[in-house]
Each structure stands twice: as structure tokens, then as C-alpha cells.
């Protein structure tokens, strides 16, 4: 077990190293990406640019620059932005994290709740029109681009129907910290939550339905039935609990990705200054230190959630240890 964890850890570090090198190389391969001219300002003289290059260490060999950047990012943690000079990037990422966390956790509550409801209903009425309807709705949910749903939601709640009683409570786009106003926080996030959740409701409802139907054929369910429990009780008490395992691992992976910045599109559409938005902005302004920090932040979440799921699997299933 300890060996598995250690091996997994080494693998994780190797993956993160690969990603950071990739980001670094992509950046320096981009023509016009050299920040010296932009830092120096429009129409600066060549001497000024040369001095800026020296000051920011941009004239040193790439491996040295890479090592310095990693040191500043992880050891001294004082890596500063190329765009907002003097702005430390690590605190920026941690400042954006609560926004993303608020968005993703709220959405997760919604999607888990609805997915269980829909999955259980569909499984209970398997083959009937309710099942069909719910599954078609789930498929539609999976088929809608999230940014389009968000744009449509904005059109309705911010534009066309904003002045009707139905949506006049919707605040302007943007995030309101929970500490400033819990109600405002809720109002500002409820539409983004639903928008983000739709895809996952569809996804999880389908997975859950399939798992439930499979579980219902297992031996222990037959035993429960034999004990004289009603079909609905069997479904809710026994089968559901067992089927949730498949959803939990899926949830671990999805949640990791989203918290790391995977909700970028939702954040951009709703103007929420989360980690995804930060990354997007950094990429637009080609702010390498910020890109590096956010990409590594995101990758850590993906890698860790993957590893966690794998290790949990390995703990339960001894065959996995041999395979991995």
C-alpha cells in the first residue's frame, strides 16, 4: 500500500514537471510573447528594453529562467506578474479560489440532488414513459454547450425579462463575497450554479440509473425482495446506497477538475473572478507567471483527484495493485 502511494506520488511529480515545462516552452516559442517590450511600455528605447530584460532575468538561458521561476513559485512564493508589476501571483490564485469553490460546491449540491432524484425515478419506472422522458431530458442536458446555456440565462435574467417580477432580484453579473452579504452571494450564484449543474445532472442521472438497474439484479437484492420488502423500499434502501459508489468516484474526478479551474466557461460567461477566469485573463495578456501558477494549481487538483481515486480503488481491489 505504502509502495503504491509512493509510486503514485513520484508519478504525480513527474506529470506536474512535464506540464510546467510544456507551459514554459509554449510561452517562449510564441513570437511577441517576450514581456520586456510590453513591460517597458510603448515606444521605449532599446536601452530601456535591454535594462528591463536584465532586471527580469529574461536574458538568461531558458533552463535557468525555468529554475528561477519554479523557485519563486514554490520556495520563496514571491513570483510576481509580468503584467501587473509587483503583484504576487500566488496570493492572487488563493484569492480567486473561494469564488471557484463557491461556484462548484453549490453546483455540486444541485447536481447530486437532482441526479439522485432523476436516476432513482428513472430506474423505478424503468421502461415506462417517465423513464424515457427523464433520460431524453438528461441527454439534452449533456448536449447543451455550457457557455450557450449561460448566455441564454443572461439573456433572460439580465436582458429581456430583467425588469419583470420574475428576475428583478437577479444582481448584475459578478461575484459577491459570502462575508459581505450571504444573501447577495446566493443571489449572484444561483443562476451560475444551475447553469454549471445541468450537464452533470444529465451525466450522473444516466450513470446512476444504469448502476441501479445493474444492482437490482444482484443476489443481495433478491434476498431483500424475498424478505418481503416492497420494490420501492428495495430500491431506495439497498440498491441506491450500493450504486452511489460508482457516482462517488466520478464525483471525485469531476470536482477536482472543476475546482482547479475547469469551470472556466461558466466563470467567463457570468463574470465570476475565479481561478478559471484568472487563467483565461492571464492567457489573454500572456502573463507567464500567472499562467504558470494557475495551470499548476489546476493540474495539482486533477492529478491528486486521479491519484486519490486510483488509490481508493487499489485499497479495495487487490488486482489493481498488480496492474498499476
Amino acid at each position: 500500500m505504502a509502495g503504491t502511494v509512493l509510486r503514485r506520488l513520484a508519478h504525480m511529480i513527474a506529470v506536474l514537471f512535464g506540464i510546467s515545462v510544456l507551459v514554459f516552452l509554449i510561452f517562449f516559442a510564441t513570437p511577441g510573447a517576450n514581456p520586456a517590450a510590453r513591460i517597458a511600455g510603448k515606444d521605449a528605447s532599446p536601452q530601456t528594453i535591454a535594462r528591463v530584460e536584465k532586471q527580469f532575468g529574461l536574458n538568461r538561458p531558458l533552463p535557468v529562467q525555468y529554475a528561477l521561476m519554479m523557485k519563486k513559485l514554490f520556495v520563496t512564493r514571491n513570483l510576481t506578474s509580468f503584467v501587473n508589476l509587483g503583484e504576487k501571483v500566488v496570493p492572487q490564485v488563493f484569492k480567486a479560489a473561494p469564488v471557484t469553490l463557491s461556484l462548484v460546491s453549490g453546483a455540486a449540491v444541485i447536481w447530486i440532488g437532482f441526479a439522485i432524484l432523476i436516476g432513482a425515478l428513472a430506474a423505478a419506472f424503468r421502461g415506462g414513459w417517465i423513464d424515457r422522458l427523464l433520460m431524453v431530458l438528461s441527454l439534452i442536458g449533456i448536449s447543451m454547450p455550457v457557455f450557450w446555456v449561460g448566455t441564454m440565462a443572461n439573456l433572460i435574467t439580465q436582458g429581456a425579462y430583467h425588469h419583470t417580477w420574475l428576475f428583478s432580484w437577479v444582481p448584475p453579473l459578478g461575484y459577491i463575497p459570502f462575508s459581505r452579504s450571504p444573501l447577495g452571494w446566493f443571489k449572484a450564484l444561483v443562476i451560475p450554479w444551475i447553469t454549471l449543474a445541468i450537464l452533470y445532472i444529465g451525466l450522473y442521472a444516466r450513470v446512476l440509473r444504469a448502476a441501479l438497474i445493474e444492482t437490482m439484479q444482484e443476489d443481495f437484492i433478491r434476498t431483500a425482495r424475498a424478505k418481503g420488502l416492497s420494490e420501492r423500499q428495495v430500491l431506495l434502501r439497498h440498491a441506491l446506497r450500493c450504486s452511489l459508489v460508482s457516482v462517488v468516484t466520478l464525483f471525485g474526478l469531476d470536482f477536482g477538475v472543476l475546482v482547479g479551474g475547469g469551470a472556466l466557461l461558466t466563470e467567463v460567461v457570468f463574470g465570476l473572478q475565479g481561478v478559471g477566469y484568472l487563467t483565461y485573463q492571464a492567457l489573454e495578456t500572456l502573463d507567464l507567471p500567472m499562467i504558470m501558477a494557475t495551470v499548476i494549481y489546476a493540474s495539482v487538483f486533477v492529478v491528486v483527484s486521479n491519484a486519490a481515486v486510483d488509490i481508493v480503488y487499489a485499497a479495495f481491489d487487490p488486482r489493481m495493485r498488480v496492474r498499476r
Binding site: A37, S45, P46, T48, I49, N84, G86, P172
Partner: protein, 548 residues
């Protein structure tokens, strides 16, 4: 009796002042401004953005400044920390400033001649963007550029006894006072560290000071306790007690927030989609002012196909400026233009050779001539790429221009890239950009800031990301004429302006760029904001706004 009368008089007087106070509630309140994001270092000697210049003017002072008033007077340079506006002596190379007494920075330190000297040395030590293009005219500036660590700047002499500073220039410079008046010329405390202060605000002498600065959240400005008004035109006391500048709302959200009265003014241009609704329901909250800012398509005169003058002429005759105006929000927000100088600039004389009826103004594209020149150029079938930015209106202008080029017979494609990349990308001659879409706004209202900066031989630097002469145009004769205009302007501004107008026509006729339009700035303010004042140099003057 007399005493009673006196009491009555006193009472009356206090009543009168009380009424005056309620009648003039101008002073006080919090002005709330909003923008999308921070704009780089907060150091006034380094930051080169309008976003911050608009608020620096209320926090910092130079020896001189542009008058902080609305309207045409706002492009006049007036004395600020200096008591006088010196006339240069020694054939235009020596300027003597007398410093005002009794002015303090917001940290309580006095403004001294040492602070002035320190501030100008600091420009070189912190790599101020224009250290090598503007301020190296001061004797010793060149050495400071090369060795900033040992910068002494012998051309700047301080005399504490008489409280004067004297500048010696290497050569006469008609724009020297303009360059002292912009925020780079701010006088900072003598103990300000010689490095980019980044997010740490530096104390200034203005009516307001920064209470907190957070690049991800915003700026809180309060009254400077050490400030007393020495010149209402140079540094007015200002009406609001606090000015908040919040970061983080998209332009779309800003419009909504200003409509709802949550903010009093937005920095960003309102999205084109919202203009109609704003103009219909919030007509009185919109202020539109023409500014010195133009959009143009530079054509690279050093590589095919635009090294051929006929090809450039063909483009200029074919471009429909009215279409470009439509893409920029319509006639209220833009004016068609064929020339380099924008309408508000001294020396501007309307001129348009590239139109159906050549004369002062543009009327319609002349496809007959365009096709004729295209034939003559022999460039039909040549491949051309338009490099533009991804955001509006650049992207749309790029796609439009591509259509025009295709109709002319080029094989055109368009390449929209990130704005931060595009501006340096199109400047570097190594990238072999043929034609692009870009814009230029004034640093200060002087024709040379457009003509000399964008088209002089020394603005073209081969293979450099900072080569603002994007067309790569160089004509020694025009350079000489511009130098002549500078010299004349020093003593006879009117005569100088006439020469600049001639230079404008010369460069326009060479068709090294396709000038598209000049910009009118739209300011959208809240219903409670009164006394909106717009400066030709700093744009909206927040401290002069009154909050009710």
C-alpha cells in the same frame, strides 16, 4: 439695543451660511468608479495607461500641468509646483523653474528642489518608458540611460537657496513642457526608492491620496491631509471626499451597474449592443467628446505588396470610412478620417485626397481609381494577411479590410490575435506583417506626438518589438521638415502648426497607412453625478464631479 441687533445680525449671518451650505452641497460624498481590471504597476513614473493617468492627475503634480478644467482650456500647460511657466533661454535649451513654498507630500515631507532632482534621476533608474525617448534630451540623460546606477543628470541643477531648478537641454525641444506635465513628470518625495514600486502607492502632492491599492480589487482614494489649494486650475481641491475605483466588472456588467446607480462612472467603452438602450433610457447620463485618437491600418512599405505605392493608394481609395465608422458604434462615436492628425489637434486642417471628390472631407470610396491603381501596381493575386486583434472593433475592422483587399484583387486573409501580443507583434519587422489594424492616442496634445512619433526615421527600429513606426516609413526630407516645425513651434506656435499641417498632408499623400476614423469618447455616468468635466489631456476629471 445695539447688542440685540448684533445678536440678530450674528444669527442672521449664521443662518445665511447654513443656507449657503445646503445650497452648495458640492463638497463631500463618495464617487464610485469602476473598471475591468488593474492596469500594471501603480508607479506614476512607469505606468503608461489612460486608466491610471485619469486618477494620477488628482494625486500627483509636476512642475507644470495641463489645466484641470473642462473644454478647450484643458490642453493649456499651466504652472503647478512651479510658480512660473518659463520661457526657454540659450536658444531654447535652458528652462528655470521657481518652486512654490510650503507644499507638502501626503506623508508630510516638504517639496524641495532635491525631490525634483531625485524624481528626474529616478525616471532613468526605474526604466520609465519614455526615459530614452523624451527625457534623454536633458544633458546627461544619455549617460543615465547607459548607466542608470550612476545617474547624476548634470543637466538638472538645483539651487536650494533660491528654491529654483534649472534644466539644460541638449537641443531645443518644443514639447519639453508637455512632457513635464504628463504623469511621468510627477514630483515624488526625495526618499522614494529607485525601483519600480509596483503595487505600493508613492506619496504625492495632489488633492487626493491612496488609502489602499489592491490590483485584484480596487483603489480607495481619500483627501490628502497635507493638501491646501495653491492653484485651482493646476490642482483643484476637488468635490468628493472619497473616490473609490473598483476593479473586476465586465463592460457589460458596468453598464448595468451604472444604470442602477451602483457606480457613478465606468472606464470601459460601453458594449455596442447596449448603446441603443442607454441612449433611449439614460440620454442625460451620456457625455460624448471628441478626442485625439485615431484608428488606422499601417502598411509595411518595406515588403511586398505595399512597398508599391500604387497598391497603397488602391487600398486608400477603396476603403469605405463610413463602414469603419459603423463598426465602431456609428456616427456619434466615430468620424471618418483620411489623414493622420485628429480634429482636436493643434495644426489640424481637414484633408482627404482619397475620396470620390477629393477635398476636405471624406464622402465615398472611389473604386474606379482604386481599381486603376491596383492594375498599375501589378500586385493583383498577391497574398496579404491582415493582422488584427481579437476584440471589437479591431476584429470586425480586420475582417472588413480583408473583404476590401479581396475585392481589389489581393488574396487576403485575416489573423486576429490577442491584443497584448498584437501591438508588439505588428511592430517587429522580423514578423513581416504586411498590413494591420491598430490605433494611436495622444500622450499630450501636440502634432508631433502623432506625426513625429509614428512616422520619423528614428521611430523605426529594425527587428525590435518597440518600433512604433509600424509602416517602416522613412523619408529624410519629411524628417527635416518635422525638425524645422519643432524649432519654429518653440517661438511661434501658430507658424509651427501650419508646418505640421503641411507634414500631415505630405504623409497622408504617401499613403503609408490607411487612416480610418477618429474616435469620440463616450462617458456613461450615474444619474446622481453632476458637473461632468472632460479634459482633452486626462479625459474625465473625477475630482471635479459633484455627487448628489
Amino acid at each position: 439695543m445695539r447688542r440685540i441687533l448684533a445678536i440678530f445680525l450674528l444669527l442672521g449671518a449664521s443662518l445665511a451660511t447654513a443656507r449657503a451650505a445646503t445650497n452648495t452641497p458640492e463638497y463631500g460624498g463618495t464617487l464610485r468608479l469602476v473598471t475591468t481590471a488593474a492596469s500594471g504597476s501603480f508607479d506614476p513614473q512607469i505606468n503608461y495607461t489612460l486608466r491610471y493617468a485619469e486618477i494620477y492627475q488628482a494625486m500627483y503634480d509636476g512642475l507644470v500641468t495641463f489645466a484641470k478644467v473642462g473644454g478647450p482650456g484643458s490642453i493649456e500647460v499651466v504652472p503647478d509646483l512651479a510658480t512660473n511657466l518659463p520661457k526657454p533661454t540659450d536658444h531654447g535649451t535652458t528652462y528655470v523653474f521657481h518652486l512654490r513654498h510650503g507644499i507638502e507630500f501626503s506623508n508630510g515631507a516638504p517639496v524641495t528642489v532635491q525631490a525634483v532632482v531625485h524624481s528626474f534621476r529616478r525616471l532613468f533608474k526605474v526604466n520609465s518608458p519614455n526615459a530614452g525617448t523624451w527625457y534623454d534630451v536633458i544633458v546627461g540623460g544619455r549617460r543615465c540611460l547607459a548607466h542608470p546606477g550612476h545617474c547624476t543628470l548634470p543637466g538638472l541643477i538645483a539651487d536650494p537657496a533660491t528654491n529654483t531648478v534649472t534644466f539644460h537641454l541638449r537641443h531645443p525641444d518644443a514639447e519639453f513642457l508637455d512632457q513635464l506635465a504628463v504623469p511621468f513628470g510627477s514630483i515624488l518625495p526625495a526618499d522614494t526608492p529607485d525601483r519600480d514600486m509596483g503595487t505600493m502607492p508613492i506619496p504625492g502632492t495632489g488633492a487626493y491620496m491612496v488609502k489602499s491599492y489592491d490590483p485584484s480589487n480596487g483603489i480607495v482614494m481619500v483627501r490628502n491631509p497635507h493638501f491646501h489649494q495653491w492653484s485651482a486650475i493646476a490642482q483643484p481641491k476637488g468635490f468628493p471626499n472619497r473616490i473609490l475605483y473598483r476593479f473586476g466588472l465586465s463592460a457589460e456588467a458596468q453598464v448595468t451597474a451604472v444604470e442602477n446607480g451602483q457606480y457613478d462612472w465606468m472606464y470601459e467603452n460601453a458594449p455596442a449592443d447596449r448603446l441603443n438602450q442607454m441612449a433611449t433610457h439614460y440620454t442625460k447620463q451620456i457625455h460624448i467628446t471628441p478626442v485625439n485618437w485615431f484608428f488606422y491600418a499601417p502598411m509595411n512599405v518595406n515588403i511586398p505588396p505595399f512597398n508599391n505605392k500604387y497598391a497603397r493608394l488602391a487600398v486608400n481609395y477603396a476603403v469605405n470610412r463610413e463602414s469603419a465608422v459603423k463598426l465602431s458604434g456609428g456616427n456619434a462615436l466615430a468620424t471618418p478620417s483620411c489623414q493622420i492628425l485628429p480634429p482636436q489637434m493643434p495644426g489640424y486642417v481637414p484633408y482627404c485626397p482619397f475620396t470620390r471628390n477629393p477635398g476636405a472631407d471624406w464622402s465615398a470610396p472611389d473604386w474606379k481609381r482604386a481599381r486603376h491603381y491596383m492594375q498599375k501596381s501589378g500586385m493583383i493575386g498577391q497574398k496579404v494577411t491582415v493582422v488584427t486583434q481579437i476584440q471589437s472593433p479591431y476584429r470586425q475592422l480586420g475582417v472588413y479590410l480583408q473583404g476590401v483587399l479581396n475585392r481589389l484583387g489581393f488574396k487576403a486573409s485575416v489573423k486576429p490575435i490577442s491584443p497584448d501580443l498584437q501591438f508588439t507583434y505588428i511592430q517587429n519587422s522580423n514578423n513581416n506583417v504586411q498590413i494591420s489594424i491598430t490605433d494611436w492616442a495622444q500622450d499630450y496634445p501636440a502634432p508631433s506626438d502623432f506625426l513625429n512619433v509614428l512616422f520619423s526615421c528614428k521611430s523605426f527600429k529594425k527587428g525590435s518589438d518597440n518600433s512604433i513606426n509600424i509602416s517602416g516609413f522613412c523619408d529624410p526630407a519629411i524628417d527635416a521638415e518635422m525638425a524645422h516645425a519643432e524649432l519654429i513651434s518653440l517661438k511661434h506656435p501658430r507658424a509651427g502648426d501650419a508646418i505640421w499641417a503641411h507634414v500631415d498632408r505630405q504623409i497622408t499623400r504617401r499613403a503609408v497607412v490607411a487612416s480610418l476614423l477618429s474616435v469620440n469618447r463616450l462617458d456613461f455616468v450615474s444619474a446622481r453625478l453632476r458637473h461632468f468635466r472632460f479634459s482633452g489631456e486626462y479625459f474625465f476629471l473625477p475630482q471635479l464631479a459633484v455627487i448628489k
